[in-house]
Every structure is written in structure tokens, then in C-alpha cells.
Subunit: 359 residues, 2 copies
């Protein structure tokens, strides 16, 4: 059993690792961050750090042996890395969750296999098959690489008239799928946690707005019907159970209006703490970061209750220049990630605002 005083290993040194490390420290854990980049944001708050590539087996083994449990902040952990870590330490979430989440085809097949709605999707091997698949699915559609897509990267819209083959060349002819475009009303997500013993706790559904394909604003409550809210949580739970998932996960969904009736279509799974759960830090009794630490340590989950109506806005690039105005705003919770340079598109921090609940 993991006890306070044990060491939590975290793969990845970005803001998610940083916020997990702070939650771990609050609960009396030591932390050890493994990341390839010098001066990673999470290093500022870690007990120990290892700077080494994710492919460096000797360093991975040393790291795994030095910690009591390993978790990660990003889903593109190479499968060999996960296997090496699993051989020498407890890895949570497990390697299967990683394998499913990092390949869009596996991910969508897995979700559809649970009887959960996803957009129609198909793989293809070459230009000829791409054409056939696209004909079956119909335009508009979205071409998505199977791996390494995030924040709109690795995607292309296939509208009427778009040269699909050329779009695929743009994506490096990487293994990809064609997905039917979902005309959604709103993007929502469920952030939830599950422990090895099957305990499960979901935060309230949140509504997400993107700017240039990057999350801009999360609002909770999401403003959907109670039935939809309950269905979203059932979906997240079914996914977590089917993966024997341990830790926090996020399930991104499209809210579709089907002749006036709300319907949920799952878009993707993030096997980790998630940007759309940042509102829980200050906006819920237990933050997603603390919840993740509790789950991976095998500890009781905390209350996921909301403290009010919450809005979380990302500070992207030079948005962060407003830090002083935000500090002057009563009740705004500012979180900065300690990144030196405010490059365009770079997540520099976020601000959470909690308002009394409207009745």
C-alpha cells in the first residue's frame, strides 16, 4: 500500500505534471518527475527529477525502481516506455488505457464496442480506399491521423470539393481514419476518477469552447438536461470500467440536437487529468489533481462536489500579460505554469472564477 511519505513518479514535466506534483505534496508524498526537457515546468515543485528521453531504458528502470507508483500527464507515452515502467513499478493508469487512447482507431472501436455512440469512422490503406471510405461516410468529414493528434493538430476537414488525397499528403500520409462530421450544438466533457477497487466519482459535466482548436473556456454546469448529465456520467463510468482504469480520465463528447432531443456522441478519451478539469482546482471540493493522486495511490476518492457556478479560462500566449489585472479581480483564482516565454498557442496559465450558483 502506498502511504504518505512514498514517492509518486510522474512521466512528463508540463503544467499537468506540475499540478499533480503539488497535489501529491499536499498529501505528504514525495514526487519524482521524469521528462526529456531541461527546465520543465513541473521541476519547480518536484522532490526529484530525471532528465532523460522516454526511450532511455536504463533511466526508465532507475526511475521506476526509485518510486512507489508511476503516473503520467500525457497519453502519447510510447508503449515500450509503458512496458518498461510496468515491469518495475505500479503504473496507473494502466498500459491498456494508454494503448487505446493513443490510437484513434482503437479508441473509437473500443467505445463503439461498448454500445456508446461515436461518429461513423473507417480506416483506409491508400488513396483508393480513402476515396471509397469517404464516399460511404459522406462529406463533410474529418481526416484524422490515428496517433499524435492534439489541439487540432493531425486533422483536416474534408468539405465538398476538398482534395482528400492531397489533405492526406499534408498529414504525411500517416495512418489515419475518416470520421463523419458531427454537427454538434456544444462540446462537453466528463472528468471522473476510478480506483483499483472500483470506487468512481465524476465531476459535473462541463461545456468547452475552443479558439483556434485550443480549449479557451470551460463552464460548469454545462446547461444540459439532467438526463444528458446522467448519461454522460454513465458513459464515462462504462469506459473506465471496461479499461479497469485507475486515475482521473476525461471523456470528450459532442452534444447533438436530434430533432430537439439531446444526444451524446463520444469524441475521445484522455487517460489523464485534463484541461477541461482545471476548474475543479478552487471550483470543487477536491481538485482533479488531488483526485488523481488519491486514485493512483489506492486511497479513498474525495468529494467531487462543485462550489458554485464555475468558469475556467485558459491563458494562451500573451493572454498571460493580463496577470496583474486578474490578480486584482476579487475572487479570481490565477494559476501560472512558470513557463518563461509566452509563445503563441502556448498554455501559460489559467484563471478560474467561482460564482454563487444561480437557482
Amino acid at each position: 500500500m502506498i502511504r504518505p511519505g512514498s514517492t509518486l513518479g510522474i512521466l512528463g514535466g508540463g503544467q499537468l505534471g506540475r499540478m499533480i506534483a503539488m497535489a501529491a505534496a499536499q498529501l505528504g508524498l514525495k514526487t519524482h518527475i521524469y521528462a526529456p526537457e531541461e527546465n520543465s515546468p513541473a521541476f519547480d515543485v518536484a522532490t526529484e527529477v530525471t532528465v532523460a528521453p522516454y526511450e532511455d531504458e536504463a533511466s526508465l528502470v532507475r526511475f521506476a525502481k526509485a518510486v512507489d507508483v508511476v503516473t503520467y500527464e500525457f497519453e502519447n507515452v510510447p508503449s515500450e516506455t509503458a512496458a518498461t515502467l510496468s515491469a518495475h513499478a505500479l503504473l496507473a493508469p494502466n498500459a491498456q488505457a494508454l494503448a487505446v487512447a493513443q490510437d484513434r482507431f482503437l479508441e473509437k472501436s473500443f467505445i463503439a464496442g461498448l454500445g456508446i455512440d461515436v461518429a461513423p469512422f473507417e480506416v483506409f490503406a491508400d488513396e483508393a480506399e480513402l476515396g471509397e471510405v469517404l464516399e460511404r461516410i459522406g462529406r463533410p468529414a474529418v481526416l484524422k491521423t490515428r496517433r499524435f493528434g492534439y489541439d487540432g493538430k493531425g486533422q483536416a476537414m474534408l468539405r465538398p470539393g476538398t482534395d482528400a488525397a492531397a489533405a492526406w499528403v499534408e498529414l504525411g500520409r500517416a495512418p489515419a481514419i475518416v470520421e463523419g462530421f458531427v454537427p454538434f450544438e456544444r462540446e462537453v466533457s466528463v472528468v471522473a476518477a476510478r480506483t483499483a477497487s472500483g470506487a468512481f466519482a465524476a465531476y459535473d459535466l462541463c461545456a468547452n469552447e475552443h479558439r483556434h482548436h485550443i480549449l479557451d473556456l470551460t463552464r460548469v454546469p454545462a446547461g444540459v438536461s439532467r438526463e444528458t448529465e446522467e448519461q454522460a456520467v454513465r458513459i464515462a463510468r462504462a469506459i473506465a470500467e471496461a479499461l479497469d482504469y485507475v486515475g482521473v480520465l476525461a471523456v470528450e463528447m459532442f452534444l447533438v440536437s436530434d430533432g430537439g432531443r439531446e444526444r451524446l456522441v463520444v469524441n475521445e478519451i484522455a487517460p489523464r487529468v485534463h484541461n477541461s478539469g482545471h476548474w475543479t482546482l478552487g471550483g470543487a471540493v477536491t481538485s482533479q489533481f488531488e483526485q488523481h493522486v488519491r486514485a493512483v495511490c489506492g486511497w479513498p476518492l474525495g468529494s467531487a462536489a462543485r462550489l458554485g457556478r464555475v468558469e475556467m479560462r485558459n491563458l494562451i500566449g500573451h493572454d498571460v500579460d493580463a496577470w496583474e489585472e486578474i490578480l486584482a479581480e476579487p475572487g479570481a483564482h490565477l494559476h501560472l505554469y512558470g513557463k518563461a516565454e509566452a509563445r503563441a498557442g502556448r498554455k501559460m496559465g489559467h484563471v478560474t472564477r467561482v460564482f454563487p450558483e444561480r437557482d
Copy 2:
């Protein structure tokens, strides 16, 4: 001006330094902890650490030059240390606040000089003077060393029949004062913050219960009249202004019932974040740690509003063995300080419980 990305230096590596460092990291600051003990609790969450004695001038100068502003977590910073740091860096709170707070005679004289009630007190030079002073003040009285007293250490009750000279020998014949005993109803404290530009914010008055002279339980609200609450805040503000204070300070007071009327008698000042302010972490919009960081950096203060009725209990020694039960309690916020050994009397952590406000 201090900006995010700057480095906050913290003198002292205990749990207060640890919680200040985490608040600083949340606001995008780097931290550098200076402490004499290897493996200090605050090191786990610091960007940089220096392990050196507080008397090591060369190390102090290097530390001061490596950071943008220096603060501290304990009031017994030697005055030479404060002077060395002040010569090379911004020190907040200032050296005067330290000088006043670390000598009970100076402290009480200063407070009385502001027209604020304190217990009657007098210094003495030898046994003969001790006898005369005690006669003037009357028994019961409290013999207190001028310096280095905390958690009941450096004190002796002088009841009718107590051999005062022997009690002084027990305290090593250290410079001391005799204080009249205050028959208080309750111990209360104000935790407040002031910035260099004079902005001031106080948290609600809290009531403190001690066990074996160590803080056990803090409750907010304190259950006093509105007039008393306002007076307590006026007192804290007057003290902060007279010291040109920058940062969070705590003012401990006795609540006395004077023929049914509430009266406040100041006991002591802590020129730092304070155990009786731990409830603000999770129990107020802005924690005392974040507030302290904002103040010493010259940033706007955050809202000190309370999130409900709050109770904070210290986990002393083996109290911490209940960590798992506490984690299982919905809505309890557990904070552990990462100390290896649960020795008797050692502050291992605390738990904060926030309840809906009673009307």
C-alpha cells in the same frame, strides 16, 4: 517590480515555508528555500535550496543575490541575518517587524504604545527585582523569557506559593518579563495582510483551542460580537501600519469578559503566516499563503472572504495515523507536511473542514 517568473526566497524549511512555496509556484514564481537542516519539508516543493546555517554570511549573501525578494517562515530570524539579507535583497516583512516580534518586552511596549490593551508586564534584572515586580503585578502571573518562546516553551506560571526565583532558574535565568495572568474566555486571532502601498485585508477572526500549549483547533467564525470582530481587525491594522508591515501577520488576542462586556487583550504578534490561518487554505477564497506571496511581491491582495463555517484541526504526532480515515471523510481537506517521523508534539499536518454557514 516582481513579476511571475521571479524568484521568491524563503528563510526556513518547515511546513509554513512549504505552503508558501506551493502558493508561490501557483502564481508562476520560482522559489529558493534557505534552511540549515537537510531534508527540510519545504525542499520537496522548492525550485532551489540552500542548506546552510542562518549565521553563514557568505551563503546568505549568495542566497539574497540569487532571489528577487526574501521572506521568512519564523520570527526568530537572527537580526544579523536580517541585516545581511536586507543589504542585498528586498526583505518582507521588514527587519523592524522581526525585531519587535522576537522580543516580548519590545513587542508589548510597542503594542501598549499604540494604546492597545495588553496584560500588565514588567522586566526585571535580578531575583530581588523579580520579587518586587511580582508584588506589583500580583499572582497568578506568567514568567516569560523575552526571546525564543513558542508553544508554551520559555514560560512558567507563578501561582500563589510558586517559588518565582526557582522558576526563573528553570528558564536558565534568561532575560524575561513578568506578565499579569489574563483570565480569558477564549483565545482568538486575526490573520491579515498588508502591502507596501498600504492595501490591507483581514480574514475573519478565529477562535483557537490549545492542547498541551500547542494549537489544536481553530474555528471560524469565532462567535464574538460584531463590535469585537471589528475592533480586532482595527487592532491588527494599527499594528501593521505602525510597523510599515508587508506580508501576512497574525495577532493573537485574549477575549476577556469584563462584567459581561467583551474586551480584547493582545497577547502577541507573529510576523508571518500562522497556524491559526491554515483554515484559509480551502476555507477562504485566497489562502494566507497566497495572500502572503501577493503582499511580499507587491501584487494586489486577494479576497479574504470565507467559504463557510470552518474548522481546522492540527495533526500532532500520531494524530496523523488517522490520515486514511480523514481521506475517506467527504469534504475534509487533508494537508500533510512530508515529515518522516511522527514524534510527540510535532506538527505533522492539518485537516480543514468547511461547512455550510449557519444563519
